[in-house]
Point group: none
Chain length 406, copies 2
Amino acid sequence: MHKVDNFDLIKQISITSPSKIVLLVIDGLGGLPHPKTGKTELETANTPNLDRLAASSICGLTDPVGPGITPGSAPGHLALFGYDPVKYKEMIGRGVVEALGIDFDLKPDDIAARGNFCTVDNSGLVTDRRAGRIPTEKCAELCRLLEEIKIDGVKLFVLPVREHRLAVVFRGDGLSPEISDSDPQQTGVAPKAVKALNPQADMTAAIANKFVAQAKKILAKHHPANMVLLRGFSSLPSIPTMGDIYKLKPAAIAAYPMYRGLARLIGMQLLKTGPAITEEFYALKQNYADYDFFFLHIKGTDSAGEDGDFDRKVNVIEEIDKALPALTGLKPDVIVVTADHSTPALLKGHSWHPVPILLYSKWCRADRVGEFSETACITGGLGRFPATQIMPLAMANALKLAKFGA
Amino acid sequence: MHKVDNFDLIKQISITSPSKIVLLVIDGLGGLPHPKTGKTELETANTPNLDRLAASSICGLTDPVGPGITPGSAPGHLALFGYDPVKYKEMIGRGVVEALGIDFDLKPDDIAARGNFCTVDNSGLVTDRRAGRIPTEKCAELCRLLEEIKIDGVKLFVLPVREHRLAVVFRGDGLSPEISDSDPQQTGVAPKAVKALNPQADMTAAIANKFVAQAKKILAKHHPANMVLLRGFSSLPSIPTMGDIYKLKPAAIAAYPMYRGLARLIGMQLLKTGPAITEEFYALKQNYADYDFFFLHIKGTDSAGEDGDFDRKVNVIEEIDKALPALTGLKPDVIVVTADHSTPALLKGHSWHPVPILLYSKWCRADRVGEFSETACITGGLGRFPATQIMPLAMANALKLAKFGA
């Protein structure tokens, strides 16, 4: 299939209509066969609802970034939303994703960093990059202390994220994101001095170092969280939103900050939801009237895969299957069920394996695939294709793409 | 699927590890069904070992250059190694490939040409571009005579290749490869004068013409090899090696100069081997400990296809199948069996038909394909994809590619 390198064509032909698209992302869904049964997690799970949906859908397998490439979460999701994951991943800093993910209202000139509370020993060497994963409440308390730091010409926001993780936002004139990390990404060494990557960033590097120095003093008596590490300094990139490209009014239902941040960055409204699968499906129902595109993200499959817990991943998939009627009952015009990448329990991490996808619509031209599984999807009507093409397919099936050319 | 346009991404994520990849290239493997049986050469051959391997592999079909495009040997192999065949074919001259293929130590400023001994009549018109395919020994003898030619400011190397084929290397200051061929590529006409393609190449063109003129005198009494034709003047291109891109330590086992030359050009170590299939597999075993990537090239299938000899091609495939346990017995982490293009005996030449591929690894997510054949591979889990993506897939399956993006 042709690669969608830019959005020019889609922008030209996309139209707003009342039809609704639901993109259900089962994070890390794809797996590998269990040595004893020869069946993947998805093939092992009892999924009557997904199988029934697959039977009236068109199925296939996608490559999020490319064959052989194991995607991180950000590239995997960028591809799902139609954004070239290599091109846009370069443009999006981790600090920005982190700040947006906790609903911080980042301004165009703000510089955001991702931070960790960490433990340093008496010599100042990092002994634990995560400060023993302090509770989120402790993180919030320490962030309040750090927000008292005063640096001339800069307004500071120190924002708790989860456990040891925080985000720091610097607001002021003439700041630049072109500065290096203080996080050495390893233990046994001291935090690094932040350095300007070009002369225009000298002032920002000095400000970041002042912040770290003062934070060190304030945190000294808060062992194990007696230091802070910063990385991924970045500012809001100039990238098109889903509204710009697809003329959609999109909403995101996701419990984890990273996915919320990415969704917000490309113009989705973040909906309130609890972390449970049923809560996420409930959020969909509650907000169903108000948007025409829903990104519903479920994290548990990926976490179980990362933990190498085959059975737990199977259970999460079965739980999703049980919740599915809450989604199908809304009768969306288009339902896409897929993932951002595979996370086989056997590999205990993300992998390069292509991802099963089903696309349901009244106009999908269903194939003969009668169950939702990696093996069955091989012979699906969508074939094997880049994940960046899911959005044009979903839009077309929602009758939201006009004819190209007379 | 995404096209890998450049190596930036792969360079970023490739890692060196002890795992080993064997790429078995059965040249021209793909075929067309015999009119009487409806089976291709590969489908006709009795291949229990390849079939067993296919059953635990993921299979598919590749397009070396693109659907409908019949690849020459160089583009077909470039694609197998992950190099965009259109881009890099332009950069690699035939003279360079020929010289490297016979293990000549080409220097960066050398100009290499591919040559043929040929037959001319009394009027100087070419009557046989291959001089009746003189024996290789005769070729070597004539090359020694031609190497006596003296041209001011240039050191000459005249190198026998095989039968009527030779390579000529010009070494000196200020030489340029931007000169035209003397080979008219047809009979009944005189060899052409070599012309400079730009003013900087005037001197080199004059040198080449002097060489041809003196060669003509020397060869006059050596009918049928009474003249020489030169083409493909070229110098070493600046292209990334497989070490640069994949951080591999690669080795090539190939009997034919062209494949050896190409392999050496992209940084493979050329291993000593006899021409027989069993000798090539033996070379693999002998050198197995010392490299992490092996390109094993088998020519007989292509030669039989070119000759239109269906049965001989079947026999060569069966011979490879018999030798296969010598490869699988080494238990490489990744085994890829495929070809650089199809050479159907019915077409007596290379063709555009996609090429069957099997990829075996512990992590390959095997599909339901239970035999290695063009027809069975249609329903393989790899689908149909560009051959340039074989290397990323092989690297991923060898766990030699890190995650892209956090």
